[in-house]
């Protein structure tokens, strides 16, 4: 009996031990696996996980690329779908609207490119390198005054010079006036032909400063010119430098007539007209000086 009992125990023991080891090993494996998963989930940073995924994609890029190529080839190139008349009409309208929008954008792009070209040429002139041109459009025009669509928000200030910005005579941009008042989004420009305008100017190569006064009839005049100065028709009139506003003399107009002053015959009077046709003007640029480094 004792022999039978010990034989029983002898056979059972290793089986029980083996089962215990197997279950412990299974449990350990499961625990390790779950621990690894939890570490990946909560402890591994997103960047590191992303790099690991990218490494996989990089190592196996050839078979993955092949797979993508097969997918592209297998994908149907076009899918035919029947639509109702109403759907067709709606799609047609949507297509027309998109075409119109595209045409508008095309026009705006061309305008923007043209503006960039003009401003670039303006800044390329000698002495104009430190200007910060503020392009604007004329929204309202009265006899001797303009209203433009740029204001305080764009950096416009009273006293700044305003030049024409036509594409027709790209190299003949001229001063047309100065900013007389500013609002948030608009500003008023007092033209050189305004009777209240008084701009320091010079004529041709003469380094003498005179004042250009507007007449109110589309022209301006320079009075009290000494007869010793020989001034001819078509001589160019320059707006003189003004500290903080203009660094170099800029063309303002041309001499139309030079004659003795009817009120004071001992001096001359010069009639000046703006170099550009202000009535046809749509684009202007406000000259703002940037501080010189």
């Amino acid at each position: 009996m004792r022999f039978g009992a010990s034989a029983f125990g002898h056979r059972l023991g290793p089986a029980i031990m083996k089962n215990k080891w197997a279950s412990k090993s299974k449990g350990m494996l499961f625990a390790w696996g779950m621990l690894a998963g939890l570490i990946f989930l909560f402890l591994v940073p997103r960047d590191a996980a992303g790099r690991l995924q990218l490494t996989y994609a990089r190592v196996f890029r050839w078979p993955l690329a092949m797979g993508s190529g097969v997918v592209r080839v297998a994908a149907p190139t076009h899918v035919v779908r029947n639509v109702s008349a109403k759907e067709y009409e709606e799609l047609l309208n949507a297509c027309r609207q998109l075409r119109n929008a595209s045409a508008n954008l095309e026009t705006q792009l061309q305008e923007a490119n043209s503006l960039i070209e003009r401003l670039t040429k303006l800044r390329a002139k000698t002495g104009m390198e430190h200007i910060q041109p503020i392009p604007g459009k004329i929204v309202m025009q009265s006899k001797d005054e303009l209203t433009i669509n740029q204001g305080q928000e764009s950096g416009v200030a009273v006293g700044q010079y305003v030049m024409s910005l036509t594409s027709a005579r790209l190299n003949d941009q001229c001063v047309i006036g100065v900013i007389s008042s500013v609002l948030a989004k608009n500003a008023r420009v007092k033209l050189i032909t305004d009777p209240r305008s008084k701009m320091p100017v010079s004529i041709g190569d003469l380094h003498v400063a005179w004042f250009l006064e507007g007449r109110g009839d589309g022209t301006a005049r320079i009075a009290n010119i000494d007869p010793k100065y020989a001034i001819r028709e078509h001589d160019i009139v320059y707006a003189e430098k003004k500290r903080g506003f203009l660094d170099v003399p800029v063309v303002a107009g041309e001499v139309v007539q030079c004659r003795p002053d009817p009120d004071k015959p001992v001096v001359q009077e010069v009639t000046v007209r703006p170099l550009c046709d202000i009535a046809d003007l749509s684009d202007v640029v406000v000259i703002r000086l940037t501080p010189v480094p």
């Binding site: 299974k26 570490i39 990946f40 078979p63 993955l64």
Partner: protein, 176 residues
């Protein structure tokens, strides 16, 4: 268990899952079979417990590398595949799944459960899954369930595991 063949099989399955399986998409790009899910169920049903646990976690790692639930996040599939694969293996030792329809049902249920657990774990990390919920919880497991049992044959041939499900080892008699 032939581990080298297993590694090659998992690698090929993950590459196919990322690349070619899109060709098999039906109606929607997300409605495609999950080859790694099919492999998970295969090894959980046909391997012994230890091998099944290792295989489940390994397949989960491959899934997180190739088709993560959320981009740049690893761990949801490792945990969901490992946990549910181990549970399935344990259940299989009690209820053996041999017939094709039952295998399909098991694949479908495993697909729903792994998707749910992966999404929940991703949510715990403050992320939402990148695929649609309907595709993840219904269409993808359904598609995998239809295709899976048929893929068991070539996989079984490759792994030399032809048995119709895992069989409990015969109990050795205590007394002769």
């Amino acid at each position: 268990m032939r581990w080298f063949r297993f590694a090659a099989l998992v690698l090929v399955a993950s590459l196919l899952q990322t690349g070619l399986v899109r060709v098999m998409a039906v109606l929607h790009p997300d409605t495609k079979p999950d080859l790694l899910l099919i492999l998970l169920v295969f090894f959980a049903l046909r391997s012994n417990s230890k091998d099944a646990i290792i295989a489940s976690f390994a397949i989960g790692l491959a899934a997180d590398l190739s088709n993560p639930t959320v981009s740049r996040l690893m761990g949801p599939r490792i945990i969901s595949f490992g946990l549910l694969g181990a549970l399935l293996c344990d259940l299989n030792s009690t209820v053996s799944v041999r017939r094709l329809p039952y295998q399909a049902i098991v694949i479908f249920l495993m697909g729903c459960l792994t998707a749910g657990l992966s999404c929940l774990l991703a949510f715990l990390r403050g992320e939402t899954a990148s695929t649609g919920l309907t595709a993840a919880f219904l269409w993808q497991p359904l598609y995998s369930a239809i295709l899976g049992p048929f893929l068991f044959f070539p996989v079984g041939w490759w792994m030399s595991m032809h048995g119709k499900g895992y069989r409990r080892p015969a109990r050795k008699p205590l007394f002769r």
